[in-house]
């Protein structure tokens, strides 16, 4: 048997819903594990991504840390797949894009009624937010997209098996979803 493909996954400005959906492939996970092994992923808690064949990323880019992680993936993965609405078009977090970041921060941390001695967090440990939330492809090159919020386990399965088998991934009616 040929060498297993090495796969890394992460969530940036996302909700881990796409990861949950990934687990929805259920017993097919076992079949998948015959074909792939996992690098950095919430499944195994590896913190940094090493050289991989495939990187699967959910969530958009909303802060400086997201940029670093995304770049680490791009540097190490031969193929990057953006999974889910947030990774593809910014999704829910991008709903703040027509608002001014400064007024968001001011309202949330300073002027919100009932807030006493509020201050905008400035600990260097915290990643700074970008003024807009961006889809992944605006920051690095993306090879494939699996749309959906989240995509169903079946859609993820179909897509990955196509890809692993060397076919152009196609979802088709019922599996391609934007919601």
């Amino acid at each position: 048997m040929s060498k297993k493909l090495r796969v890394a996954t992460t969530s940036l400005a996302g909700c881990f819903g796409c990861h949950m959906s990934f687990l929805d492939i259920d017993e097919r996970l076992l079949t998948l594990l015959d074909l792939v092994e996992f690098d950095r992923s919430p499944i195994n808690d590896i913190k940094h991504c090493g050289p991989c064949d495939i990187g699967i990323i959910e969530g958009g880019v909303c802060n400086a840390e997201n940029v670093h992680v995304l770049r680490e993936f791009r540097k190490n993965c031969k193929i990057i797949i953006a999974i889910g609405a947030c990774a593809i078009n910014g999704g829910l977090p991008a709903q703040r894009n027509h608002l001014d970041l400064a007024s968001c921060l001011t309202e949330v941390y300073l002027t919100e009624p009932g807030l006493a001695h509020g201050h905008i967090p400035n600990d260097p440990e915290l990643p700074l937010p970008l003024d807009k939330v961006h889809p992944l492809y605006e920051v690095v090159k993306i090879d494939y997209y699996i749309p959906g919020c989240p995509p169903s386990g079946d859609a993820i399965w179909k897509f990955l098996t196509d890809l692993i088998a060397g076919r152009t991934p196609e979802l088709g009616h019922g599996l391609i979803k934007y919601d």
């Binding site: 260097p124 700074l128 920051v139």
Partner: protein, 604 residues
């Protein structure tokens, strides 16, 4: 200045509105002309005025808002007592318009696109105003001002600060030179007004059509449709009424020949229109004058009146019973797309200038769905000349498929910008020599949608066989950056897209975004592929010529001047679409952080 909803119209203003509507016979198809007058009188079309007009014209107020917001020169909100628009063609930029605009903004303490807090003035850019031979140019409250300099901008700023009425500004500001550098059969004609018409009335309608057909005359607006064929089709099309429309919406950046023709040869233009009316059986004609040439309105009205007085217009023209024809001038309001004939007709009907689906074509379903012959200003002049000279003599001028002469509007890097008339078949090189151009890198023929001709192609000829043109001839010497030329044109298309169809509405903005990205140093090879993709969509799916040709300036300059693009591209295959570190600036400001973690490198 009061916010709009508090600027109440008083009784005298309401009376004025009432009279204006009455003057246009409460005809909602004259809406654009009415709005023009309201704009000129009040500086903007207020909510209250909109309500009054809607009631008097018996149309929904949303229609008024819909039409007014389509045209750049009409404003639904207060836009300053003085509305300054800098012409933003590349030729204006080459003459320093950007620095002049910045200077003026500083002198008057305001930002481009904004109205000053006291409501005195607004400053912005507008598409080419047709003064490329005497730029940089601007419009103030719709009036053209030429030959701007730092000195002149200073004077203008002072006049505005003093609230000096425009009528009291130095006349020299508004002087528009004709700059005729070379004349031929058109500009050199010595015809007395009415002369051609006299002969034609005797010859009769059929004869006019035959001569124009046999002369090989083709439309001078760029597309080159055979004029005689158009007139014949219009004549044969059934309809309650037939119409003649002169397209003087000369909006193609770099073109200004119609300005000169309407100044110097207005009689010949109207003579050609009247001939056409006789030929197609029309009793009503329109001259669609671009808003930028507002200053020509009164002189043109005077010429029309003189022609009426001489029985060259009106009832039974030159004593021929049943030959009734008159011409009305319709003023545009800042929309390049109205140069497209079906959009022009929509605009004539008081609507948004959106090109119609064709077929049917205007010759059968034009103004008010009736047969309409729409021709360019120069075409009407040439038609009159062809009828006067006879087909054979006319055909002898020019080339086989392009008979007659062509007016060329020369601007850009040359010693003698202005109007040059040549028989068709003249080479680019000859024109460059005549206009005193040296070290020329490229010439843009027929405006942004036309062709960019590089040095090794200067032997190419103007004419429908090789380089068809509406007349723009913009010269760029070797100091010019052809990428910036293309970027200026791309901005023009995005600004002028009517927004009707998806590909043009969105695609021109995407193209603009991509060109700006490259200009800002964020471009990669990926962006060139993106341009290709946009071009395929725009060329194949756009509703009209604007969208279909919007990528031309980029494709042509990419083909001939690729290094101008590649020098700007990062060597990387991919770069973020935006400034990463810059997009943390807001958060740095709010948190007061400036540590290493508060920054992002462009690449890692």
């Amino acid at each position: 200045m009061l916010p709009d909803n508090e600027t109440r119209i008083n009784d005298s203003a309401e009376l004025w509105l009432d009279q204006a509507v009455t003057r246009y016979e409460s005809d909602s198809s004259r809406l654009l002309q009415i709005l023009h007058e309201v704009q000129e009188r009040f500086g903007h079309i207020s909510q209250q005025a909109t309500g009054i007009l809607a009631e008097k014209l018996d149309i929904p107020r949303a229609r008024i808002e819909s039409v007014a917001s389509f045209y750049s020169f009409l404003h639904l909100k207060p836009h300053g007592e003085y509305r300054v628009l800098f012409s933003d063609n590349i030729t204006d930029r080459m003459l320093g318009s950007e620095a002049l605009m910045e200077q003026m903004c500083q002198l008057l303490w305001l930002q481009p696109g904004k109205v000053s807090e006291d409501g005195l003035v607004s400053i912005n850019t507008t598409s080419c105003t047709g003064m490329c031979d005497q730029g940089p140019a601007m419009l103030v409250n719709g009036r053209a001002i030429t030959r701007l300099s730092h000195q002149r901008v200073q004077e203008i700023a002072q006049l505005i600060r003093n609230r000096t009425p425009l009528a009291d500004w130095p006349a020299d500001f508004f002087r528009v030179e004709d700059n005729i550098r070379r004349s031929g059969l058109l500009l050199g004609n010595t015809l007395a007004y009415g002369e051609v018409l006299h002969a034609a009335v005797t010859a009769g309608a059929q004869q006019i059509v035959e001569v124009v057909k046999a002369s090989g005359l083709r439309g001078r607006g760029g597309a080159g449709f055979p004029t005689g064929q158009k007139w014949e089709a219009c004549r044969n099309a059934p309809g309650k009424e037939h119409y003649v429309v002169c397209n003087a919406d000369e909006g193609e950046p770099g073109t200004f020949k119609d300005r000169v023709l309407l100044t110097r040869q207005a009689d010949l233009v109207f003579e050609g229109m009247t001939l056409c009316a006789l030929a197609v059986g029309a009793s009503k004609g329109f001259l669609y004058l671009r808003g930028e040439y507002r200053y020509l309105l009164e002189p043109l009205h005077a010429v029309l009146q003189r022609r009426r007085d001489s029985n060259l217009l009106g009832i039974s023209i030159l004593g021929k019973p049943g030959f009734d024809f008159d011409i009305e001038i319709h003023l545009g309001a800042g929309a390049y797309i109205c140069g497209e004939e079906s959009a022009l007709i929509e605009s004539l009907e008081g609507k948004r200038g959106v090109p119609r689906s064709r077929p049917p074509f205007p010759v059968t379903h034009g103004y008010m769905q009736q047969p309409t012959a729409v021709d360019n200003v120069e075409t009407f002049c040439q038609a009159a000349l062809a009828v006067q000279m006879g087909a054979e003599k006319y055909r002898a001028i020019g080339t086989e498929k392009s008979s007659g002469s062509k007016l060329v509007s020369v601007s850009g890097d040359c010693a003698y910008p202005g109007i040059y008339e040549y028989p068709f078949g003249v080479t680019v090189r000859e024109i460059l020599q005549d206009c005193g151009a040296v070290n020329t890198r490229a010439v843009q023929i027929s405006g942004p949608s036309g062709v960019c001709v590089p040095e090794n192609e200067f032997n190419r000829k103007l004419g429908f066989e090789d380089l068809p043109t509406a007349g723009a001839f913009m010269v760029f010497d070797d100091s010019r950056d052809m990428f910036e030329v293309a970027r200026n044109y791309v901005h023009f298309f995005a600004h002028e897209s009517c927004g009707f169809c998806t590909p043009c509405r969105v695609g021109t903005s995407m193209l603009k975004q991509t060109m700006d990205k490259i200009a800002n140093g964020h471009g990669t090879k990926h962006d060139l592929r993106e341009i290709d993709k946009l071009d395929r969509v725009l060329q194949n799916t756009s509703h009209c010529g604007l969208g279909r040709t919007a990528c031309n300036p980029v494709l042509h300059t990419l083909k001939h001047f690729r290094p101008a693009y590649e020098n700007r591209l990062k060597s990387l295959d991919f770069k973020p679409a935006f400034d990463l570190d810059g997009s943390l600036a807001r958060a740095r400001q709010m948190t007061g952080r400036d540590d290493a973690g508060a920054h992002l490198k462009e690449t890692e």
